[in-house]
């Protein structure tokens, strides 16, 4: 089958002869992929920042597809069902899954206890091949996949596998109270969605910060928020203090380990890997939020350590909330939001390419060419 094949930092290609996946467990299903996205967090893999990313792996944790085959213990799905597949691989019964922490499953990732299994996200997240392929193995098929309603557009469905739930949970974790000022760092798809969802929780003012004007312009329209380019601001934290008086009520880090804006963090985090990526956005969030405020983190960081002002967290009495999105928990609410026109996720898609152009798709998204915000790939056999 055709599948994306990682060859090393900044190098991916189409593998035309990858063996098709097989049922390896009674709760497995095999899915024929119909849509698959490149996520901003795939870029951390693409850039070689995530440990145990092995050559030959297929990435892709945002995908929809048609069920081709199911294992003996799968009862909720049958061949022919068109499903959206949450990026978390979750058993549904361990102590964490049983409390709806589907991003923290204890029975889907052997290699690390700090994160549950994730499709196509290195061996640190379980060593699963991902959905940037014609076919993919989906474990615990009765737990994760959700049938796509007939009325739903396939492009909306694929955005519900990660982008929308992660953006929504970023706002949810922020504990927004009516009237709060919310600052979102990062105008990528997740940040834009978090800014949009902040209004749903009653924010009184939403501000988004990034360095790319075209993304800020998009965010201003899509999320109806204020948008500022930090390249034109000498001191971001001071700027936030000035426009909010005491600091934001809530700050959301939707950037993660590849943040720009601070030379020290860029050199030690992105270039030399002395720390687990560049925590510039997180540092700004901690310093820019009010005393007693909340910092919500959905940006992805590496498993080693980062240099952040933890003393300020203590002295300001901050609450930090963070997690991988619990997609399965959020899907019923988010499907309703899409149905009622409250959220329009497919509007974030700017590029749709065939899977065969995977090398170009990664480069366009990584280098931010052609005003790219979100890239979707469609395998040949999708129709």
């Amino acid at each position: 089958m055709h599948a994306m094949n990682y060859r090393g930092p900044f190098r991916v290609r189409l593998d035309r002869n990858k063996p098709e996946p097989e049922i390896l467990h009674p709760q497995d299903a095999i899915i024929r992929v119909t849509r698959t996205c490149i996520c901003g967090s795939d870029l951390h893999l693409y850039h070689g920042l995530v440990p145990d990313t092995r050559v030959g792996t297929t990435f892709g944790h945002e995908f929809t597809g048609i069920v081709e085959e199911v294992g003996a213990a799968v009862h909720n799905l049958k061949p022919g069902d068109h499903v959206m597949v949450p990026f978390n691989i979750a058993c549904g019964i361990c102590p964490f899954c049983s409390q709806q922490l589907y991003g923290n499953c204890h029975e889907s990732n052997s290699e690390a206890t700090a994160v549950g299994g994730i499709f196509g996200y290195s061996h640190t997240a379980g060593g699963y091949d991902g959905g940037q392929a014609e076919y993919v193995r989906v474990p615990y098929a009765d737990v994760g996949p959700v049938k796509i309603p007939e009325w739903m557009d396939a492009d909306d469905a694929v955005m519900l596998t990660d982008v929308v739930p992660t953006g929504y949970q970023a706002a949810e974790m922020a504990g927004i109270r009516k009237g709060d000022t919310v600052v979102v760092f990062g105008a990528g798809p997740i940040g834009i969605m978090a800014a949009r969802c902040a209004w749903l929780f009653g924010a009184g003012r939403v501000i988004i910060i990034d360095q790319l004007d075209y993304r800020l312009e998009f965010a201003r329209e899509f999320a109806q928020c204020e948008a500022y380019n930090f390249l034109s601001i000498p001191d971001v934290v001071l700027f936030l203090k000035k426009i909010t008086g005491i600091g934001a009520d809530v700050c959301i880090d939707a950037v993660g380990c590849e943040a720009s804006g601070d030379l020290f963090h860029t050199i030690t985090g992105r270039k030399t890997l002395i720390q687990a990526g560049s925590p510039t956005a997180l540092e700004w969030a901690i310093n820019g939020v009010k005393k007693g405020g909340i910092v919500s983190i959905v940006g992805v960081y590496g498993p080693t350590a980062n240099l952040i002002p933890i003393g300020n967290v203590v002295n300001k009495g901050l609450t930090i909330r963070a997690n991988q999105a619990s997609v399965k928990r959020l899907l019923p609410r988010l499907i309703e939001h899409v149905k009622n026109g409250i959220l329009n996720p497919k509007a974030l898609i700017t590029h749709k390419l065939p899977l065969e152009e995977v090398s170009e798709a990664y480069h366009i998204f990584s280098a931010k060419r052609d005003n790219c915000i979100k890239t979707v790939m469609v395998p040949n056999h999708a129709a």
């Binding site: 060859r7 290609r13 390896l24 709760q27 145990d52 361990c94 409390q99 690390a112 615990y140 090398s359």
Partner: protein
Amino acid sequence: MPHKFIFMESQKQQSVSEWSHTASEAGGKNVNEMAEKYAHIKDWGIDADPDNDPTYPIKQWNGNDYLRLNYKRPVQQPLTIEKLHSNERPSVSAVFGNAVPPSGMSGMLRRYAFRFSEGRWAHWLTLLLADRVNMVEGIADDIRIGYFPNIFKERGWNAEWKYNQKGVIKTVAIATGFAAVAILLLTRGRKKYSY
């Protein structure tokens, strides 16, 4: 790795006896049972408020954390490949990915890395080193089967040329300039020592 060895490892991995010594004491106890256990401590838990879980309402609290490792596990996926697992858990997870089993020099490094727990730099930095070694192995493997990787294509430079021609020309010009200066300096150096 020989299949027999994997099977033996699998049996060994499934034993949680070394792990459950402390866990089994709390395992299976609900909050009421815990109240009995701590009855000798005056006013134990009187101000406990499950709603004050900092993850609330993200986590639907049900007390199952106190099961520790003594919950009913899903059926185990057969262990037919070499699967490394964190030493912070007693065994492989019930299901696991089979994307790329460890092999070669990078595999040796990965096996070494998994001797260390997830909190140790030795674990993660060794894995990053293994990744870089693996990249070189990947090129060698390609050439071994007669496939010469098109690195320009793999890096998506077609798209770069399509959307950023000026940038490509600038990069090539700068690289050519540096190369020319380097060749010039090297050539001068050789002449100097040729006498």
